[in-house]
């Protein structure tokens, strides 16, 4: 089977990305190449395209298929309280600073299906901070945002999430925050009403507000250095002095032109303080 698998070449990918820019103004050319190639090959295999040309034709001629394709191209894998130690650090080191604010604005950039947003809302609730908070979840993909807004998560994942929640320093039981129906957990309205979801493309869109905390986790690893730097510029513009920036476990500001604007609050958990 492996012998027959269709794989896109470097040149074919270049050409394909150019066509996408031209037709849809979506630019994936600054994404990490290898990961992107794997995603395209995955679509070719899963959807049994006979050739690259066939896939390209489908993408160009059908905008609905294109949005499905974008969804397949970007990695949406996420979970609640991903890296519990990170959430614990937020709670212990960042929340006391946020508590000094009258109004707390938080931006989850590249929030995917919203698990991270719900996780933070729960911890804010337990710290009595949710009432004066607003959590903005943005992503380039409208489909994942739709799911995030619904507040529905499959129950099969809840056991892991409950364990993560406890390790994050959760004070009660995760089941306090949802009701189960038809195999789905519906998270409570009191959490959802503090969230705003909207489409935002980090590669092309501008800063749209000022935030006390920006989380952008497991998104920048898919970007090349130039695009990463552009996004750090966007975040720097969107944070006041004293604001916080949180990245994913393997992401860093260290090699960026903007690193001098920040100092580590917690190096291990990748949380920076803007100076």
């Amino acid at each position: 089977m492996q012998e027959l698998a269709l794989k896109i070449s470097e040149e074919e990918l270049d050409q394909f990305l150019k066509v996408i820019i031209k037709v849809y103004r979506f630019d994936f050319s600054s994404y990490s190449r290898e990961s992107l190639k794997r995603r395209v090959n995955r679509v070719l295999a899963l959807e049994k395209f006979p050739s690259i040309a066939e896939l390209q034709y489908q993408v160009i001629s059908d905008p609905d298929y294109f949005s499905h394709f974008v969804e397949e191209l970007t990695v949406n894998v996420t979970e609640m309280f991903r890296n519990p130690a990170f959430f614990r650090a937020l709670k212990e080191e960042v929340f006391p600073k946020l508590a000094q604010q009258k109004f707390i604005r938080i931006w989850h950039a590249g929030c995917s299906t919203g698990e991270e947003v719900y996780s933070l809302a729960i911890l804010l609730q337990e710290a009595n901070l949710l009432e004066r908070s607003l959590l903005y979840g943005t992503d380039l993909n409208p489909q994942v945002l739709h799911k995030a807004k619904s507040g529905l998560f499959h129950i099969s994942t809840l056991r892991t999430y409950s364990e993560n929640y406890i390790q994050s320093g959760g004070q009660s039981s995760l089941s306090e925050y949802y009701t189960v129906r038809y195999g789905q957990a519906l998270f409570k309205e009191e959490l959802r009403r503090k969230m705003v979801y909207s489409v935002h493309n980090l590669a092309t869109d501008q800063s749209f507000n000022e935030f006390n905390l920006i989380l952008c986790r497991n998104v920048l690893i898919y970007f090349n250095r130039d695009l990463q730097d552009k996004v750090f510029g966007l975040f720097t513009q969107s944070l006041p002095n004293g604001g916080f920036l949180a990245l994913g476990a393997k992401e860093t500001l260290q090699h960026s032109n903007f690193k001098d604007y920040y100092t580590y609050l917690n190096k291990q958990e990748r949380i920076w303080l803007k100076l």
């Binding site: 290898e34 894998v77 690893i221 860093t252």
Partner: protein, 189 residues
């Protein structure tokens, strides 16, 4: 074995493989020049520095976890970080990826082997060790097809032989060696 300008060694394994690399890596000559990448299955929450630290304790070579966008450097042993796939870009830098597991594994051996094969072609050596699943077999086949050299641990000497057996079944394995023979082979490159 044939003379070739090898530029990278990738080593994969699952159950029992930490023990196996603990045997191999400390025995390598301090002058060993090629970069080595270790892709070992372990639990997502396993402490990241663990393998790096125990190996560094015993080895003359420099051991570190592979980092996002880091260039692949000589005389360095890179450990693929837990819970991420490790890829190699065409400019020979690392990139990480948290997409779906492959063969129930992240990092997946196939993912790294295939990505390395693509850019290192005939300058690559792939070694597959003990393990209880079939991750790595396709990667080994891909390395062979790209002109690289493929080695698997002799199944009778593996803690669990599923992984080496699956690789051998692809018909693309060139050498079946004991761990001591692997050490000898690498030190004589």
């Amino acid at each position: 074995m044939q003379e070739q300008a090898y530029k990278l060694v990738v080593i994969g394994g699952s159950v029992g493989s930490v023990g196996a690399v603990m045997k191999i890596i400390p025995e390598l000559s301090p002058n060993f020049k090629l970069p080595i990448i270790l892709v070992l299955h372990r639990s997502a929450t396993s402490h990241n520095g663990f393998i790096t630290n125990i190996l560094q304790d015993k080895s003359p070579l420099f051991i570190k976890e592979a980092e996002e966008k880091e260039p692949v450097a000589q005389a360095t042993v890179y450990v693929a970080p837990a819970d991420h796939h490790l890829l190699i870009e065409s400019d020979f830098t690392f990139s990480l990826d948290v997409s779906e597991k492959v063969h129930y594994s992240r990092p997946s051996i196939d993912v790294t082997f295939e990505s390395a094969a693509q850019h290192y072609t005939s300058n690559l050596i792939g070694i597959l060790l003990t393990g209880a699943n079939t991750d790595g077999a396709e990667g080994i086949a891909e390395i062979a097809k790209s002109g690289g050299l493929t080695i698997v641990q002799k199944p009778e000497t593996a803690e669990v032989d599923t992984m080496p057996q699956a690789a051998i079944k692809t018909g693309q394995v060139q050498h079946i060696l004991t761990l001591d023979e692997v050490i000898n082979f690498l030190n004589n490159l």
